[in-house]
């Protein structure tokens, strides 16, 4: 069975690109365009991995992680955060909240994305 990846991101271009690439590699891809929607889909779909943007309307990536940490089953789902400029404060907080890895938009590289996804859940 194909692994399910949920992308939570409000920027259309990025969402588009990630979806195309990951689908090509054979993953099932689900989309959410803000934190609230993302959290709902996490609870309903139980993805194998979440790519989580931080700065989003309605609910931020941090808030989503805080909500996830409240339930045991949700806590286990690995999260790779997407940070705008990779500020140490942001990365640090994400790690504290349990994020497994991170991507930095100012240095975005599709190859890196794939590497980090495979590292978390395999092909």
């Amino acid at each position: 069975m194909a692994k399910k990846i949920l992308i939570v991101e409000d920027e259309e271009i990025l969402l588009d690109l990630l979806q195309k690439r990951l689908k090509k590699e054979g993953y099932d891809v689900l989309l959410a365009r803000n934190g609230e929607e993302g959290l709902k889909m996490i609870k309903e779909e139980r993805p194998d991995l979440v790519l989580l943007d931080i700065i989003m309307p309605k609910m931020s990536g941090f808030q989503v992680m805080e909500e996830m940490n409240k339930e045991e089953s949700l806590k286990e789902i690995p999260v790779i955060i997407i940070s705008n400029s990779g500020q140490p404060v942001e990365i640090g907080r994400a790690q504290q909240l349990g994020a497994k890895d991170w991507l930095i938009k100012t240095e975005f590289d599709p190859k890196e994305v794939l590497e980090k996804v495979v590292k978390q859940i395999g092909k």
Partner: protein, 447 residues
């Protein structure tokens, strides 16, 4: 012919098939090329998208940094504004303080009393012009010097010992020289309970002292002048009363006796005034010798036995068991003090009352007391008991004569012997007058 047509057709078919195959291959090749181009285009598109994503992210980052900078700039501006306000306030406070300071300096400079200020290390920090005048010293000569250094100025010596770690305000009369007597007041200067210096006020009382002296001298001279005629009157009246000038009727005798008594009272007043004058001039001379206080008391009591009996007053003398140690004292003056106290008791106790005189040996001193059941002293007047010319309002009502000097003189005598004198009294119940004399140099400790 048919065969040739048949051969032709299969050749055509063969040619057609070859062409079709060729075309198919070409199509496949073209398709491959196209697919390859599409792949390349898609890869290019992706690359472009990646670049766009990075650009957008960078722009967002810059925006965030600019926002932060603007916030910080705003904060700095506000801080600067606040600082400027504070500076303004500080400036204002400084001007006010300077104003106050100038005011104070002006007051100090123009005071008619001398002012000396010492700092917390007892160094001279300020002296006003009046003080410079009084002491004959300029500020520059003593500025910043500590007290010990000041002792080189003879005019400052008496002042120096007044400037010590005094917690309270202290006032003393100091004679700097023949024509300069100062009343010096020292007080500590404190800020929030900590002593940061001392203030000395030099008040010139030379004139007051001179006037006081003139007053005393006048009393002395007047009293002396009065003595002679009073003595003459006493002498002549005495002779007439003794019937040396001829017999007298009972009526005449009684009449003259009253005159004689009046004269006696005048003589007593004059003597009291002279005593007071002498005390104040420091000419009240004491001749100390070792005496037995009990014996002195007994002698005074004896001389008043008659009047006590006449007034029908019960009397008791409580002597201590055993002999009292002898004390060095002026017998005549102590007698006078005891006499004044006893006479007051007798005078102000109505007939039928009781007087008790007691002598007690106490630790390091002998205590004498006279207790009466007389008119007492009103509570609100008790603090003026031992002052010159004081007479209680109830005493004046009872007996209009009386100098008001007896207690003043007694106090002086007792205190000159380093003793204490005090009284307890309740109006209409009675009074107790005490004095104590220290044993100090007794004949036994003289060894």
């Amino acid at each position: 012919m048919k065969e040739k047509q048949g051969e032709f057709k299969s050749e055509e078919l063969r040619m057609g098939a070859k062409t079709l195959l060729g075309r198919e291959l070409e199509l496949a090749r073209v398709r491959e090329e196209l697919e390859q181009k599409i792949k390349e285009l898609e890869a290019a598109k992706e690359r472009e998208m990646v670049l766009r994503i990075r650009e957008i992210a960078k722009a967002a980052d810059i925006k965030r940094k600019v926002e932060e900078l603007e916030k910080k700039t705003k904060e700095l501006k506000e801080a600067r504004k606040a600082l400027l306000n504070i500076l303004e306030d500080v400036d204002e406070a400084r001007r006010k303080a300077e104003e106050e300071r100038n005011k104070t300096l002006a007051i100090i400079a123009n005071l008619t009393d001398g002012l000396l200020v010492f700092d917390s290390d007892n160094r001279v920090s300020l002296i006003n012009s009046r003080a410079e005048e009084i002491l004959g010293i300029k500020f520059e000569e003593i500025e910043g010097e500590s007290i010990s250094d000041l002792s080189r100025f003879s005019s400052l010596k008496p002042i120096i010992q007044l400037v010590e770690e005094r917690e309270k305000i202290f006032r003393e009369e100091v004679k700097l020289h023949e024509n300069l007597i100062l009343e010096i007041t020292t007080s500590p200067i404190t800020r929030e309970k900590e002593r940061i210096g001392s203030l000395l006020v030099l008040h010139d009382i030379t004139r007051e002292k001179r006037i006081e002296r003139m007053k005393t001298e006048f009393v002395s001279v007047a009293a002396h002048q009065l003595r002679t005629p009073l003595s003459a009157i006493k002498w002549s009246l005495g002779m007439i009363l003794a019937e040396d000038m001829g017999p007298l009727t009972q009526e005449q005798k009684a009449f003259l006796q009253k005159t004689y008594n009046s004269n006696e009272r005048m003589i007593n007043l004059v003597n009291d005034l002279l005593d007071v004058a002498r005390i104040e001039e420091g000419r009240y001379i004491y001749k100390p010798a070792f005496c037995d206080l009990a014996k002195i008391c007994q002698m005074v009591i004896n001389s008043h036995k008659a009047i006590i009996k006449r007034k029908k007053i019960k009397f008791e003398f409580k002597k201590p068991k055993g002999k009292l140690p002898q004390i060095k004292l002026d017998e005549e003056k102590i007698s006078l003090a005891i006499q004044n106290l006893l006479e007051n008791a007798i005078r102000y106790t109505p007939p039928g009352g009781k007087i008790v005189v007691s002598l007690k040996r106490k630790k390091g001193e002998i205590e004498f007391s006279v207790k009466d059941t007389g008119i007492g002293i009103p509570k609100e007047q008790q603090d003026r008991l031992f002052t010159k010319f004081f007479r209680g309002t109830n005493a004046v009502r009872m007996e209009t004569e009386g100098t008001g000097l007896g207690l003043f003189i007694a106090k002086n005598i007792i205190e000159s012997h380093r003793g204490r004198i005090w009284a307890e009294s309740e109006e209409n119940k009675g009074s107790v007058f005490h004095f104590s004399l220290p044993l100090g140099l007794t004949s036994s400790s003289r060894k």
